[in-house]
């Protein structure tokens, strides 16, 4: 490159860094500041180092926090179970349909997330044939519902974040050296042994990346719980949303949101410590876009 001046990269980065610092990093500070205020909506909230907001916000919503872990965790496991064979099939068995299948995997992103979720609400509604089939198979009681249960929220989360699981898995599998599996077979390992001792360990980075990329947005999500769940399915995101926008209890909402950010940041930093930022920015995006 003939542009060797040392300041060049900084000029190129300046607008982006400025935007991200001012509108991503700095707002985190103000959220922290808001979390340390006390008062009421009518009298106004004043800053007085109200540290108690943090434990209070947690103890007041243990139920929803527990649900967030449970729902997001279950959805992540389900997504992994659905995605792994699919990613494997796309990487090794799709032939000339590979691009078409990848296209189908990202196709849900072409419709609005909200409308997709509302479509599931209709599909799972009480009068729908899907529920009728489940009832006649006795998988749910004759008067049983699917909508407004934990199951419907988990199903929605699984569906909506599935592509985030498939793409990193696919990117990882795609790079897998098939000769290693052949070598394992030459050395008399069965198909399942070869999978467990060669394929699975080698695709662990993809699994970890997929699990993170699915769990994190699912954990913070409130759209699925709001549309597909009932009153008993609220997650932590629903609490934050309603405290901020309806009750306007800003300090408690900010405290809760700040703690969530802390948790996610801790998970991501541990991950980056071992895998680097590459997995988030790397080749899996090439596969998707």
């Amino acid at each position: 490159m003939s542009l060797r001046r040392r300041s060049v990269p900084y000029w190129l980065l300046a607008p982006g860094l400025l935007w991200l610092v001012v509108f991503f990093v700095v707002p985190m500070y103000f959220m922290g500041e808001l979390a340390l205020r006390s008062g009421s909506l009518t009298s106004g909230y004043t800053f007085d180092w109200a540290w108690s907001n943090f434990p209070d916000s947690l103890s007041g919503h243990t139920e929803q926090i527990g649900r967030s872990f449970l729902y997001a965790g279950t959805a992540t496991v389900l997504a992994l179970l659905i995605a792994y064979p699919l990613a494997y099939a796309i990487a090794f068995r799709a032939g000339r349909y590979k691009l078409l299948l990848l296209f189908a995997v990202i196709a849900p992103f072409f419709t609005t997330y909200l409308i997709r979720t509302i479509a599931w609400k209709t599909i799972l509604s009480d009068s729908s044939p899907v529920v009728g089939v489940l009832q006649s198979l006795s998988l749910i009681p004759p008067d049983g519902r699917v909508l407004a249960t934990s199951g419907s929220v988990i199903a929605g989360l699984t569906y909506n974040f599935l592509p985030f699981m498939i793409l990193p898995l696919y990117a990882n599998l795609e790079r897998l050296d098939l000769r290693l599996i052949e070598a394992a077979k030459d050395l008399y390992s069965s198909s399942s042994q070869a999978f467990l001792r060669v394929t699975l360990p080698l695709t662990m980075p993809g699994i970890v990346a997929g699990v993170l990329l699915t769990f994190i947005p699912a954990f913070g999500d409130y759209v699925n719980a709001q549309i597909l769940g009932g009153t008993q399915q609220a997650m932590i995101g629903n609490v934050i949303q309603s405290l901020y926008l309806n009750q306007r209890d800003y300090p408690e909402a900010a405290a809760l949101s700040f703690l969530m950010m802390g948790l996610i940041l801790a998970i991501v930093m541990i991950y980056i410590r071992f895998a680097g930022t590459g997995a988030f920015m790397g080749d899996e995006e090439e596969a998707g876009a």
């Binding site: 072409f110 609005t112 995006e285």
Partner: protein, 289 residues
């Protein structure tokens, strides 16, 4: 005998069959939305089943609802502006990251990755916290700020992956043939980079037009397409929403296909060699940060 052969066939093709089913599952809501856009339903409300058979009435009256039109127009304007800004800003960042070595690279990578790993609810809440602190009037501007912010990282990732697979020899050849750095950039670098930039722009556009969670926090009284859908979802959604969602899906799907096609063509023409080995390894500074 026949049963056994069928079983054998099933066993051998289990994976492709599974892949087909999984992809079908991913496309269910999209198909449902498209079918509903033709379905005359009682009182124009979204209920299950095509009670009165197929009708093209809602396609003919797709733009007959002023409130919906206005929301869609706001979304399109917002997405267009956010796309132009975030694509320009993100492309410059990607160039700096791939083409230059500089102090603070690790920190920059981190600043790009963290927003992608942050739950939307936290991004929305923290921005709102800052806007509340400064009593900033929420509306189109605050939405634009937010949309550019969350799109930048994704643009960087897409353009970056394109730059990494870039054959630098082509630029060297241009320089050897006497092209000035600017001429090289204009006639060699930019045309080869164009599909990547286009893909990034497309991603930014679909992220913006799809966003509900972050917009819900920072919209004030401005109504975007997803916010409109959310607003009417409790009372019953006009069928025209399904029509517009289907139109948007087709539009984005066609655009994505064109970009993919263009990208493959460009790759074949320039024989761009994607060499993951040459990807810059994140410096240890990332781990330390």
């Amino acid at each position: 005998m026949a049963a056994r052969r069928a079983w054998e066939w099933l066993r051998r093709n289990a994976l492709p069959i599974y892949a087909g089913l999984a992809v079908a599952y991913m496309l269910i809501p999209i198909v449902v939305i498209a079918i509903f856009s033709f379905g005359a339903t009682p009182k124009g409300k979204l209920t299950f089943g095509l009670d009165d058979g197929f009708t093209t009435e809602y396609w003919r009256t797709a733009f007959s609802r002023p409130d919906l039109n206005e929301a869609l127009f706001t979304s399109l304007r917002l997405a267009a502006l956010a796309t132009v800004l975030s694509t320009a800003i993100g492309t410059l960042m990607a160039i700096a990251l791939v083409r230059h070595r500089f102090r603070g690279r690790g920190l920059t990578n981190l600043l790009i990755v963290i927003p992608m790993a942050t739950p939307e609810v936290v991004i929305g809440a923290s921005l709102l916290s800052m806007f509340i602190y400064y009593s900033f009037a929420l509306g189109f501007t605050s939405l634009l700020i937010a949309h550019v912010m969350f799109s930048i990282s994704f643009v960087v990732v897409v353009v970056r992956s394109r730059l990494i697979g870039f054959d630098r020899h082509l630029e060297e050849a241009a320089a050897d043939l006497g092209a000035t750095p600017l001429a090289t950039f204009r006639t060699v670098t930019l045309p080869l980079l164009a599909p990547g930039i286009l893909a990034a722009a497309l991603l930014a556009f679909s992220l913006s037009i799809d966003d509900f969670v972050i917009s819900n926090f920072n919209s004030g009284t401005t109504v975007t397409f997803p916010l409109y859908v959310y607003g009417v979802s409790l009372r019953g959604i006009p069928v025209q929403v399904n029509v517009l969602a289907t139109m948007l899906f087709v539009l984005i799907a066609v655009a994505v296909s064109l970009v993919l096609w263009q990208q493959r063509r460009a790759e074949r023409m320039a024989s761009v060699r994607p060499e993951p080995e040459t990807a810059p390894v994140p410096p240890p500074a990332v781990a330390a940060a």
